[in-house]
């Protein structure tokens, strides 16, 4: 309800009340009583109207007071703005103004609170930032130091890498020499292998020939043996002849004796017997000679047998030795071949090593380049760190400014009184 309406209604009520009373009073009443009653009612209504007007005046005064307190920066006090439902219908502009004032105060307080909070945060953040900046500065110093060390390290590394490169180069040259030697060795061992192979072949041929000779000797030996056997047979026959001759001899002697006994009559027989005896003697002597010759022949054939056996033995020894030589040559060939293979492997490995060494040299050169680049990068980093340090100084300065600014802001905010009083809590509660 608007204040204007309230005033009109009040006035109307104040005017209408006496009239209403007058009308409503019974006719039986005396005039004086009527006059008195009306007059009392008129007075009462005028009094009530005056009281009502005064009440509104006080409300306005409180409103002014509240507005002036806000103006003075005191946002702590204030009544509850939530009107009870019964009064909401009767609320007038004063109530609305009061509500609006509370909202303004609330808005202010909220803003100030926020500002204070944020200012505090800003200060804290600033101090953290300053701390951080200090720490970063220290770290930057450390980084700078580390960078110098890295730079020195890189120089040392470069030196070492150059030395290593030289060493690897020398190693590669030495491997190359080894490879050349290995190739020579491989060639030599191949030649040795060929020589040994041809030697083995020749020895094999010699063995074949020797086998032929051996067989010939064996044949010859068999023949000599057969000859010896035949000679022995001859000896046996000669023995038989000798026996027969001896018996004949005895018979002849006996015949001679008999002839002698027969006297003159046996004389002719004695002559015959004597002839027979002489023949027997001759046969005996011849047989004896044959026997001797047979003995000699047997002895010679035995010698020949022995010689043949010795030759066979020597040949067999020779054959064994040749076999041994062949085996040895084969072994030599095998050994030389395996040696040659190994040497070839060595040669190949040496070549691979050379390739590896070249790659190593390349890799080392790459490392060298990288190291040099690193050194350059380290310089850049150092410079960047220096720049960062400078920037951090700026940041620190700016932070100090921000902190000062925040202080100012806080001072301004502190001019308002809003938080410490109990009223603030009641207001919000």
């Amino acid at each position: 309800m608007k204040l204007q309406n309230k005033i009109i209604i009040t006035i109307l009520l104040a005017v209408a009340a006496p009239f209403a009373v007058f009308v409503l009073l019974p006719d039986s009443m005396s005039f004086a009583a009527v006059e008195l009653t009306v007059g009392l009612v008129a007075f009462a209504s005028a009094l009530l109207a005056g009281l009502y007007a005064r009440a509104h005046g006080r409300r306005l005064g409180r409103l002014v007071e509240a507005a002036s307190r806000i103006g003075a920066g005191d946002l702590s006090t204030g009544r509850s703005q939530n009107l009870p439902a019964s009064r909401r219908l009767l609320a007038d502009e004063i109530d609305e103004l009061n509500t609006t004032l509370s909202l303004v105060r609330e808005a202010f307080r909220h803003m100030l609170q926020t500002v204070e909070e944020k200012t505090g945060q800003t200060e804290r953040s600033s101090s953290s930032l300053t701390e951080l900046a200090k720490r970063i500065n220290v770290s930057a110093g450390n980084i700078s130091q580390s960078m110098e060390e890295i730079s020195r390290g890189a120089e040392l590394q470069t030196e070492l890498v150059e030395k290593t490169s030289t060493l690897v180069g020398e190693m590669a040259r030495s491997i190359q020499r080894t490879s050349l030697s290995a190739e020579d060795a491989a060639r030599s061992s191949r030649e040795a292998s060929q020589v040994a192979q041809s030697g083995g072949k020749m020895a094999g041929e010699a063995v074949d020939k020797m086998r032929g000779v051996f067989e010939g000797v064996e044949r010859y030996s068999r023949r000599v043996y057969e000859f010896g056997e035949k000679t022995k047979e001859i000896g046996n026959i000669v023995k038989v002849i000798t026996d027969v001759a001896q018996q004949t001899h005895l018979l002849a002697i006996n015949a001679t004796i008999e002839a002698a006994r027969a006297g003159e009559a046996g004389r002719g027989f004695a002559v015959v017997a004597e002839e027979i005896r002489q023949l027997a003697d001759n046969s005996s002597r011849s047989a004896e000679r044959i026997g001797k010759i047979v003995e000699e022949v047997t002895a010679e054939s035995e010698d020949a047998m022995r010689a043949v056996k010795e030759s066979a033995l020597r040949l067999s020894e020779g054959r064994d030795q040749l076999s041994y030589i062949i085996d040895s040559l084969k072994n030599i060939v095998a050994t030389v071949t395996s040696g040659s293979d190994r040497v070839q492997i060595i040669s190949r490995l040496a070549k691979e090593q050379i390739a590896g060494a070249e790659q190593t040299v390349k890799a080392i050169q790459n490392i060298l380049r990288v190291t040099q680049k690193n050194a350059t990068s380290t310089d850049s980093v150092s410079r960047a760190v220096d720049a960062q340090s400078d920037s951090l100084l700026d940041v620190t300065k700016l932070t100090a400014e921000i902190v000062a600014f925040a202080g100012v802001l806080e001072g301004e905010v502190r001019k308002f009184k809003y938080a410490e009083s109990d009223g603030h809590g009641e207001e919000t509660g």
């Binding site: 005895l250 002697i253 006297g263 004389r267």
Partner: protein, 158 residues
């Protein structure tokens, strides 16, 4: 020609003349007059007689007659001839006996020239074809046999 000449000579001499049978026994050579020789035999081993003295080589069967064989070497007082392979059958005073010899060598027509005496039963010796021969005639042989028998008898008595 030679035969005829010899034949003529032998006709002039006695039936046996000075003919000698030459043989080898043990390590020595001997000569026996052919007059006492009956036969020469080719007998390797005479049958041993148990209990007989060493100089008796054994017994042989000659045409059904048992004849003693004496070791010629031992009889002559020399070494025994264990390898004796032949026997010279002789007849002394109607008794036949064999002499075991190593080998009958030859029959010599000519008389041997006695060159000296030897200390043995033969008593005589001769050089013949570069070798020395002991000549045993019938008397010497008899004496040798008797001597051996006596010695044996005395040994048995003792």
């Amino acid at each position: 020609m030679d035969t005829e000449k010899r034949q003529a000579e032998s006709v002039d001499s006695s039936a046996f003349g000075d003919r000698m049978l030459l043989f080898k026994a043990g390590s020595r050579r001997y000569a026996l007059p052919l007059a006492i020789v009956v036969e020469v035999l080719d007998i390797a081993a005479p049958a041993m007689v148990p209990g007989a003295p060493a100089w008796v080589a054994g017994m042989i069967n000659h045409h059904g007659r048992v004849i003693p064989v004496l070791d010629m070497g031992m009889l002559a007082g020399a070494a025994a001839s264990p390898g004796a392979a032949q026997v010279v059958l002789v007849e002394l005073a109607g008794e036949r006996m064999g002499l075991a010899v190593d080998q009958i060598e030859s029959l010599e027509e000519a008389a041997l020239k006695v060159t000296g005496a030897v200390d043995g039963p033969g008593g005589r010796c001769a050089w013949y074809k570069g070798e020395m021969l002991e000549i045993f005639d019938a008397v010497a042989l008899h004496k040798a046999i008797e001597g051996n028998i006596e010695r044996h008898a005395s040994e048995v008595d003792v």
